[in-house]
């Protein structure tokens, strides 16, 4: 019986041999046993570069919107963990990728980062099947108890304390924009943070500009964040950004009964309207 890693390599080989894609973006062995690095496999013979282990952490969906990569390889396949499949769904909704030109090799990593975590390749191959899997199987376990606890703790704080908490956190921000680079949803050609006519967001790393940047980014992700956790993982100063994103995602879920990235047919609440939408927030 083949291991999940062999299965993954086989799937990549098939896609490349069958000329279904030009590149498979996956995980390769990093410079330490507990590190992986993105690899770009363009020939079936090179599929053995791919690895599957609990240290496959990056959200590779961020590569799908890279113009340089797309120009070279119009048809891409990515190795996508379950949250990353949600990213693909949102990117399709936002017309950033052509569903016909993207193939997804879904993988499941039960406890990312834990060396003993099981890793499997999802049997589903089409996006429809994968979405169904996400809804049936993944949605209930999308948040760990620990993650949920952090959000709930935050929700229970009085607004003034919450504000003080975030002020303290954002004071650390270096404005390195690693969160933006890692995020599959941050694909704008020109970010509002770079606009200087007029300069809505101060670019230097001081409290006012930091607050403006981080709040703006959080709002841009409300109803869109797919909970991959890349921003928090890549943050060099350990700002718990996902607590903020999950907080907003829960607001959106409670107000509009919507969670991003589970159904390509169901669009984000901020740009859609339903007759039974909750409107009690309108004064």
């Amino acid at each position: 019986m083949s291991t999940p890693e062999q299965e993954l390599r086989e799937r990549a080989r098939e896609l490349l041999e069958g000329d279904e894609v030009d590149v498979v973006v996956g995980y390769g062995q990093g410079n330490r046993p507990d590190r992986t690095t993105p690899v770009f496999v363009t020939a079936a013979a090179a599929a053995d570069q791919l690895v599957l282990n609990p240290f496959c952490r990056n959200d590779l969906a961020a590569w799908l919107t890279r113009k340089d990569l797309r120009a070279k390889f119009p048809r891409m396949a990515i190795v996508a963990k379950e949250p990353d499949i949600r990213a693909v769904v949102v990117l399709i909704q936002e017309t950033q990728i052509d569903p016909g030109a993207v193939r997804v090799i879904g993988v499941r990593i039960d406890r990312p980062g834990d060396p003993d975590s099981p890793c499997t390749v999802l049997p589903q191959t089409t996006l429809d099947e994968l979405q169904q899997h996400l809804r049936d199987d993944f949605q209930p376990r999308a948040l760990t108890a620990e993650q949920l606890g952090a959000v709930e703790k935050l929700e229970q704080l009085p607004p003034a304390e919450r504000w003080a908490y975030w002020r303290k956190q954002f004071d650390k921000c270096l404005r390195c924009y690693a969160c933006r680079s890692g995020c599959p949803m941050c694909y704008c050609d020109q970010c509002i943070a770079q606009m200087n006519q007029p300069q809505w967001l101060d670019t230097s790393a001081h409290p006012l500009g930091n607050m403006a940047w981080n709040i703006t980014r959080a709002f841009h992700l409300a109803g869109r964040c797919i909970n991959c956790g890349e921003c928090e993982r890549v943050c060099p100063v350990d700002i718990p950004l996902m607590a903020l994103n999950r907080f907003l995602a829960r607001q959106v879920r409670d107000q509009f009964d919507f969670q991003a990235g589970y159904d390509v047919e169901e669009y984000q609440p901020f740009a859609s309207w339903k007759p039974d939408d909750n409107e009690d927030f309108i004064l």
């Binding site: 936002e94 017309t95 509002i192 006519q197 007029p198 809505w200 841009h220 901020f270 740009a271």
Partner: protein
């Protein structure tokens, strides 16, 4: 360097009574860039406007701020004044120190401080204003009227008589609508068909009107002056060119037992042959002999040729070979400048469905379960000379002449529990008419009318309903009916007479329910195609309940008749003429001038080309469908990027797209980022925030 003029209006005591306008003028005079700052009693008066005009000339102003009332009130006044003095009108802004300040504050000093701040904000904005030019949009001088009832007929004739082309689309086989089904009309009792049919014929032979019956609007694209409307020509199965309207097909059609929609589904036993019933139509049919065009259609759902494959009698009998079973639906695209929606109403069928009866009814009232409980439109057909009985009042169960008739008002109307909250408006009058007409035909008969209130507002309307009570002896009982049930061949109507505080029981031969007037079943769907709003009851919404009653919120789409709300014939005709005059006014110019406050998608230098990255969030939030997709191509024609583009003709300047764009790729002209940034930064400048 900016040279701004500030003009502060007292608005009599409205502003001057609270805000120290003189202090305000002094404070603003010190503001950077302000070269003149004055206050005046009434800035909107001629001398007030002259102050502004003279200052523009004398001080060579580059911007004007008028601190006064709401821009909704006087922005056009002051912008016109500026334009007359040679300043681009969009370099004039208003600071609202009335609604936003003096009317809501009492403390004079605090109010003055706030007014100064509001004015400073606008001074900072106007420094960043750009000279905008009105947008000119060409107009296709061709109107589409949807619905061929009296509203559509009137609107089409008025527009056509003003010299413009009209396309009238009707989904039935004939125009005429509900008015053609009516017997006589209140309050003058003229025969409905007699007054309507000449109008129908006029429509058919008007050189400017293209009549499209048995057609439906499929899709609406475009915007005011430039709509592109796709119309579905449903397969009529009869060649309109060849058919002469002789009617031989209808006589010979063997499928004769289809309840006629034109007769509102009412069926009456034939007095000459009790086993037969009157009120049916054939499968190949015209709704009535007065139909326009008087050429039949085949109802394919009921035609033996279509359901069983055999028959074909109509094709054999047709002397001109007009019957064509192979005909298919056809889509035609019409270029249209303005649209009048006149889709009318339906009578509400108020409860559970009953078998073998084409209409459904109200539980307690037994409508749909007992044939002698009918609705107002069905009674209308019983009274009509063109109806199944030739105008003789007969009841559906046994064909006997009813001697006691009970009418019930407000069945479904004004009923928060079971029906609709609104008043259907016409029922009080038509029930009075029904009682009167019945009395004229059955002299020994007796009528009763259970009502909530008699609403007879209108010229000679009250006199009319009084006549029914006083001259024709209809007994009006103020109260509701609780139950109707059959007993010994009669219908027992149990109700209350709240004026004498008594329970009443009437043994009736026939009961007529004035059921609510509701929009057509697919009104919502059409509204969505046209992108016009509708209310909770699905009636189409007017742009303003008082001042713009015939316009929809969408420019170029107008409303006429009962699709907008319950109303009677004269009101419908008046509204239709109103809508037609709006269309004619639109068509009076070759180009349409629109305010330049529209959204714009930024272009940028390569390799970005446009800040827009094509997520099309804006496309989804735009209520006007004004966002289009534009491809940016390289020299070899390959697509570099697909980005959003604003259609200036459709854009209403609401700014939703600009607010929703994550990359700030869209701005609203007149409210651009620089302007808004300057306004925000001017807040609290005084306090040193």
């Amino acid at each position: 360097m900016s040279r701004i003029g500030v003009f502060i209006c007292h608005c009599g005591e409205n502003i001057g009574g609270v805000v120290h306008c003189d202090q305000m003028a002094e404070a603003l005079a010190e503001h950077p860039g302000v070269v003149v700052s004055v206050d005046y009693k009434y800035m909107c008066s001629d001398p007030g406007q002259n102050l502004i005009k003279e200052a523009i000339e004398k001080h060579k102003l580059t911007g004007v701020v008028v601190s006064a009332c709401s821009p909704r009130m006087h922005e056009p006044t002051f912008r016109t004044a500026c334009a007359e003095a040679g300043l681009n009108p969009f370099l004039c802004e208003m600071a609202n120190i009335r609604e936003h300040c003096s009317w809501v504050h009492a403390d004079r000093d605090e109010a003055t401080r706030k007014a100064i701040e509001l004015c400073r904000m606008m001074v900072e904005k106007v420094k960043n204003n750009q000279q905008l030019q009105p947008i000119h949009v060409p107009i296709t001088k061709r109107a589409l009227v949807i619905g061929g009832g009296i509203a559509g007929i009137q609107a089409a004739l008025d527009i056509a008589n003003a010299g413009h082309e009209v396309v009238l689309v009707e989904r039935d086989a004939s125009i005429g609508g509900h008015m053609l089904q009516l017997s006589e009309t209140f309050p003058t009792l003229d025969c409905s068909q007699c007054i309507l049919t000449p109008r129908m014929v006029e429509v058919a032979r008007h050189p400017k009107i293209t009549l499209m019956t048995w057609c439906e609007v499929e899709k609406v694209d475009g915007y005011i002056g430039n709509f592109e409307v796709t119309v579905r020509k449903k397969a009529r199965s009869v060649d309109m060119e060849k058919c002469t309207g002789c009617g031989a097909c209808m006589l010979k059609c063997p499928s004769k037992k289809i309840p006629s929609e034109f007769n509102a589904g009412i069926l009456i036993p034939d007095p000459e042959n009790p086993r037969k019933k009157l009120g049916y139509r054939t499968a190949i049919y015209t709704p009535c002999p007065q139909s326009v065009p008087n050429k039949p259609v085949i109802d394919r759902a009921n035609c033996i040729k279509f359901t069983k494959g055999k028959c074909g009698v109509c094709a054999k009998i047709c002397p001109t070979g007009a019957v064509d079973y192979e005909q298919e639906d056809e889509l035609v695209v019409e270029q249209i400048g303005a649209i009048v929606v006149a889709t009318g109403y339906q009578v509400w069928s108020v409860a559970k469905a009953a078998q073998d009866y084409p209409y459904i009814g109200y539980g307690e009232y037994g409508y749909g379960t007992h044939p002698d409980i009918i609705d107002g439109l069905q009674f209308e057909r019983l009274l009509s000379a063109s109806g199944p009985t030739g105008g003789k009042v007969m009841r559906p169960s046994d064909g006997k002449e009813p001697e006691t008739v009970v009418f019930l008002s407000c069945v479904g109307s004004r009923d928060n529990e079971k029906g609709f909250t609104y008043c259907s408006k016409i029922c009080c009058m038509y029930l009075a008419k029904h009682a009167m007409l019945y009395q004229h035909k059955v002299h020994h008969g007796q009528t009763f009318n259970f009502y909530m209130d008699i609403r007879a507002g209108g010229k000679t309307y009250d006199e009319f309903s009084r006549r029914t009570i006083e001259d024709d002896g209809c007994i009006y009982l103020r109260g509701r009916v609780s139950r109707i049930y059959p007993r010994d061949g009669k219908l027992v109507v149990q109700g209350a007479d709240t004026l004498s505080n008594a329970q009443v029981e009437v043994e009736a031969d026939l009961v007529v329910l004035a059921t609510a007037m509701i929009p057509q079943p697919d009104a919502e769907e059409l509204a969505q195609k046209l992108r016009i709003p509708y209310d909770k009851d699905r009636f189409l919404s007017e742009a303003h309940p008082k001042l713009r009653p015939v316009e929809s919120q969408t420019a170029g789409v107008y409303l006429a008749g009962t699709c907008q709300g319950p109303r009677d014939i004269p009101e419908t005709v008046a509204q239709a003429s109103g809508a037609a005059s709006k269309v004619s006014a639109l068509f009076s110019a070759d180009e349409l001038e629109r305010e330049p406050m529209v959204a714009e998608v930024h272009r940028a230098a390569p390799p970005i080309f446009s800040i827009c990255f094509g997520c099309f969030f804006c496309e989804r939030v735009c209520p006007y469908g004004a966002i289009e997709r534009e491809e940016i191509t390289a020299r070899d024609g390959s697509v570099i990027k697909t980005v959003a583009k604003v259609n200036e003709g459709l854009c209403a300047g609401c700014g939703l797209c600009a607010a929703s764009c994550r990359a700030n790729a869209i701005t609203l002209k007149g409210f651009n980022d620089e302007q808004m940034f300057a306004v925000v930064n001017a807040i609290g400048e005084e306090e040193g925030f």
